[in-house]
């Protein structure tokens, strides 16, 4: 009974379309397992082999990988949210309300974006703590630690810029606290606050600037640094482990 589907499957796998997609057989041999990793654009971030030490979950707690995973979740949910959100002072709040009440699955979409954002702050912080305590910043990984520190700062700024977008009381006043801090920067406080917030008080300009920073500039910068971060892990000898 299963002969027909089996034959069809065999034909698909020996056909030109399949072969153009996958250039290796089923990964049950060392050769095919290696090919599966380095001929796949998503998997080739990995080496073909890793030290067994790196597989121990209590060593990394998967925090770096999960931070990246949350970044992907945030990118996806954020893109979907952009379909429904307009960053102007008269529409922003109503759009969020609509997301909660009118858009199908809008509420859970927003919830996932929000909690993943908080989650990413936590995972990035825990990842940093792990990297520090295992001495993984030591040579030759010094520069990657610097990149990681910048990624931590970017994560906070990404989360903070997103905080303003619902344009509700919580957002407005939380960001006002930040505005007052920015203004208190020595020597250039007022100028800095003016450039960042687009005025001397929180208003339409601040909302638009935070939106652009949140959905374009900062994700691009973060993606750029993540690429360098991953690339450096490989170039610096893979995940750290006892010498």
């Amino acid at each position: 009974m299963l002969e027909l589907p089996a034959e069809m499957w065999r034909r698909v796998k020996s056909g030109p379309l399949w072969k153009s997609l996958f250039r290796h057989g089923y990964p049950d041999s060392r050769k095919n397992q290696s090919l599966a990793v380095f001929t796949n654009v998503f998997l080739h971030l990995h080496p073909v082999k890793v030290r067994r030490h790196a597989l121990a979950i209590p060593y990394t707690w998967c925090m770096g990988g999960l931070s990246f995973f949350l970044f992907l979740v945030l990118t996806l949910t954020g893109t979907l949210l952009m379909f429904y959100y307009r960053p102007t002072t008269d529409l922003a709040y109503a759009d969020i309300k609509d997301l909660e009440t009118v858009v199908v699955f809008g509420q859970i979409l927003r919830n996932m974006h929000r909690w993943a954002g908080h989650g990413m702050v936590i995972t990035v912080f825990l990842h940093m703590v792990r990297v520090f305590y295992t001495g993984s910043y030591k040579p030759p990984r010094e520069f990657n630690w610097v990149v990681g520190t910048l990624l931590f700062v970017l994560t906070l700024v990404l989360s903070y810029t997103g905080y303003l977008l619902p344009w509700d009381q919580l957002a407005f006043w939380a960001v006002t606290v930040g505005y007052n801090i920015a203004q208190a920067a020595p020597f250039v406080g007022n100028e800095f606050a003016f450039v960042l917030f687009g005025g001397f008080q929180l208003g339409a300009n601040a909302l638009l600037r935070f939106y652009v920073l949140h959905v374009v500039a900062l994700p691009l910068a973060t993606g750029f640094l993540i690429a360098i971060h991953f690339w450096r892990i490989r170039k610096d000898g893979g995940i750290s482990g006892p010498l």
Binding site: Q33, V50, G65, F69, N111, M112, G135, R141, L150
Partner: protein
């Protein structure tokens, strides 16, 4: 003219050899990876990553189904909630604002700390203990010590500041300190406290635990993590209206519209 002996470079080879000389031997990272010590990424690492990602996704989905993201009323510039708080991960800075100058707490201290963090690997250069949590049992003891030191001191300093302010410290400073209520209370005392207590921690680790560079770095880092967490907890769950201090279980709700 005599022809040199041995194999001759073919045309263009000399140029290539010279280019190779740019890649210095010590710039190549040597990886101590023995064959028996390794595992194939497919399937051993990928299966862990896949399960971790799925568990995380399911967890995120459950949390998102159970708890709605907060949404308050439309923003109103004339209606200030009391207290107005930053997002929780910045509440540590907001808490710090209460104890020193705004620019110092909100800009200078975090900037100095971030620069210091980036400088850590350039100060602690030895490769000793890479891949081992806390490097050594001594490192673990130092981490515990630094955690207790930083947590106790941060809580104590916050309480001391509250106590002094409750007893008219600001007025006293305005009347008696040079520079009034700003120079000493906002700048000199906090800066001195932060520098002296950090230096004291390093010194204590060197004296009690005979700590090397990696070990005093563990102390400073642990101290930072604990200060960061204590400030976040106090800022989140112990600051009520007027940013006054309350016990976490007696924290009054926020006044949503506070007329100044």
């Amino acid at each position: 003219m005599t022809t040199p002996r041995g194999p001759q470079p073919f045309s263009g080879q000399e140029k290539r050899l010279r280019l190779l000389a740019f890649v210095r031997q010590d710039s190549v990272v040597r990886v101590d990876k023995r064959v028996e010590d390794t595992a194939m990424v497919w399937p051993h690492l990928l299966v862990i990553e896949f399960i971790a990602a799925m568990l995380w996704f399911i967890g995120l989905f459950i949390i998102s189904a159970a708890f709605n993201a907060p949404l308050q009323d439309h923003s109103t510039p004339d209606c200030t909630p009391n207290p107005s708080k930053a997002p929780w991960y910045l509440l540590n800075l907001q808490e710090l604002l209460l104890h020193m100058d705004k620019g110092l707490a909100g800009v200078i201290v975090p900037t100095v700390w971030i620069v210091f963090m980036m400088a850590i690997p350039y100060i602690d250069r030895s490769r000793e203990g890479v891949g081992i949590y806390f490097t050594s049992p001594n490192g673990k003891r130092i981490a515990y010590f630094a955690a207790a030191y930083a947590t106790a001191l941060t809580f104590s300093l916050i309480l001391l500041d509250k106590l002094l302010k409750d007893h008219g410290y600001i007025q006293f400073a305005s009347d008696n300190f040079p520079g009034g209520k700003q120079l000493f209370p906002d700048y000199i005392i906090p800066i001195t406290t932060m520098i002296v207590l950090s230096a004291a921690l390093v010194l204590l680790v060197k004296i009690i635990f005979h700590g090397n560079t990696r070990e005093w770095m563990i102390a400073v880092w642990t101290g930072f993590v604990c200060v960061y967490l204590v400030l976040t907890i106090v800022g989140t769950s112990m600051r009520g209206p007027g940013m006054d201090m309350y016990a976490p279980w007696a924290l009054p709700s926020t006044h949503q519209c506070f007329a100044p």
